[in-house]
Symmetry: C2
Subunit: 363 residues, 2 copies
């Protein structure tokens, strides 16, 4: 339970080490003695707890597993390309790889959130299962091949919180006219319920909340939201995040750069990403539980579930929005069809699985 | 959803490839041109779906990540040492590593189940979190160092089923006199409720059930239990498995053999094991949901929860049994104390986490 303090130290140390690394790499030759150097662009603030540190761990892990034959230099959002240009930068080879939340690229394909998180969708355990053994990865490969890309799961932030609000939400009417930071398919769900969604990268949210540009904001759950300090301007935090039941991160690679690697380095890149799925989810599981205590006990945050009537209406709209993706094309239909059947199978098994157990544990 | 068939093909192919590998390795020199060969002994039947295949994947992954500089030859239970001698075989260097369920070694230390699964304990997501970021790994390292060993998480079979019974269980009285296959701390829980627990390796269970040596059996959940065919002799399957909410496997290594590896191979061994935590849990999540359909629809299995009154009594006894481990010694107390606090923190956060979401999803 001392990990909270440890992580804060690591954050500060990491920030310092990051600055040093920039000058070192710039001064070094681009390619030395059979060694390969990659750039990793990310959608996250520099050394940010959770997703930012996870990206750095993946970069470091690739170097360690390959004994330095492949080293990866990480660039935070805006250091090399802006947060929301990561996909295009990896696509055109400006960087060999990127660490992101796939649903940021919804404009590229409306079904890309299925590889990240979908309103009313899968928990992290279910999502990992669908991607690795339910047919998800094959569908993802098919979609990304059109862009000359491939991606693998590379982290999961767990079930999110709906977000932070200045005023209490007591019914669906309270959403009317709210300007709210949301990404992915659920931005549309909130729009249909009367709010106005706007997406922005993590680092832009706090200034937007402070200036009144937005009234409410969703980001990354108690731990990461505590780091940004949202509680300073918005005291109401609602959850669980039915809009993002298991927010996955991905490592996206330029397919040509990846195919040029020898077989062992290919495996190293893939495995270094994939192991972060269990690592980061574990870190969130520990840290969110601690952050809730800090937010509620030290900062007076009101953390509550949304009213059941609002949630029911929310699920109705969300089912429409998710279902409409199937009409976009053949691949979109196959993604929706495969995913929906898988989702139903795990819900049917729910009484005997982790869910049934967690209910029994409270008897 | 075609993975079921694929996995069966892989199982058959794996079995054939396994046989070929044996003769090849025996004929090859023990150590060639700077290459290192390790033996992995396991507690599982040869190429058994789930845990057996997972062990093989770890062995193969180490070879692929290291480009063959470290290759690992897998031995199923009984091929090199019997299932329940894996711990001692790795301890004395007979094999460099093993794949197991740590709670099999409860005779070595009564608290070892905390690194595997504990009655009334943690889900897989919570367990991974506690081991990796809650202090669990450090306590595990301390315990295993006394034996010259180290271990990492290397798979998780998810929430188990209570098991298979010939006759229905309608109250706690029905457990009286039942001879039941159980391992870990929960064997004692069942004993205190009137049953007689006996542990045996997976491959021995079906013959024991058939011969009437045991009346009931717990093993690995719907998918692996289907493979063993328990439904042929016992029609009642109860769940969820409150006794094993997230059964973890581990890769255990001989510390001297591990310390002799160069830094990159050390990282490769650790990461190759750890990634199986997300892989195998995903496979179980997909396959258990499918296996339930097969068991219930094709084989007429009665799959039900245990009566609530029995579960309540079960949790009371289980809390005693788990709590008593703390009295065994200083390390045992620290494990219990750390684990109990962590468990409470994630239960407190439950309404906002995956659990709260899964409840809301059914609204």
């Amino acid at each position: 339970m001392t990990k909270n303090r440890k992580s804060r130290r690591a954050f500060l140390k990491g920030a310092a080490a990051g600055s040093v690394a920039v000058s070192t790499v710039v001064a070094a030759p681009a390619l030395a003695a059979g060694k390969i150097r990659w750039k990793m662009v990310t959608t996250w603030p520099k050394n940010f707890p959770g997703v930012g540190i996870a990206a750095q761990r993946i970069a470091d892990r690739i170097g360690a597993l390959s004994d330095g034959r492949l080293t990866v230099k990480l660039f935070a959002a805006g250091e090399f390309v802006p947060a929301f240009e990561v996909f295009d930068a990896v696509r055109d080879g400006t960087a060999e790889c990127g660490h992101d939340a796939p649903y940021y690229w919804i404009a590229k394909n409306r079904s890309v959130p299925f590889f990240c998180t979908v309103p009313g969708g899968l928990t992290p355990q279910e999502h990992n299962a669908w991607i690795h053994y339910g047919g998800g990865q094959e569908l993802w490969d098919e979609m990304y091949a059109e862009f000359g890309l491939r991606a693998w799961l590379a982290g999961n932030a767990g079930t999110q919180m709906i977000g932070w609000f200045r005023k209490p939400i007591t019914s669906v009417d309270d959403l009317a006219g709210l300007k709210i930071r949301m990404a992915g398919l659920h931005a549309e769900v909130f729009n249909r319920l009367g709010a106005t969604s706007v997406n922005m990268a993590g680092g832009e949210i706090m200034p937007a909340l402070q200036s009144g540009l937005i009234d409410a904001a969703e980001w990354g759950g108690p731990w990461m939201d505590l780091a940004f300090g949202f509680y300073k301007v918005a005291k109401y935090c609602y959850g669980p995040g039915v809009h993002e039941p298991g927010a996955a991160q991905s490592l996206v690679v330029n397919l040509k750069a990846y195919e040029a690697l020898p077989a062992d380095l290919k495996e190293i890149v893939r495995v270094a990403a994939e192991v972060e799925t269990v690592r980061l989810l574990g870190e969130f599981t520990v840290m969110n539980a601690l952050a809730r205590q800090t937010l509620v006990n030290e900062h007076g945050v009101i953390m509550e579930p949304l009213p059941e009537s609002l949630l029911k209406r929310w699920f109705e709209v969300s089912e429409d929005v998710v279902g409409e993706t199937a009409a976009e094309g053949d691949l979109n239909w196959r993604i929706y069809d495969n995913w929906t059947k898988f989702r139903q199978s795990v819900i049917d098994f729910g009484p005997f699985s982790e869910f049934g157990y967690m209910k029994a544990r409270l008897l």
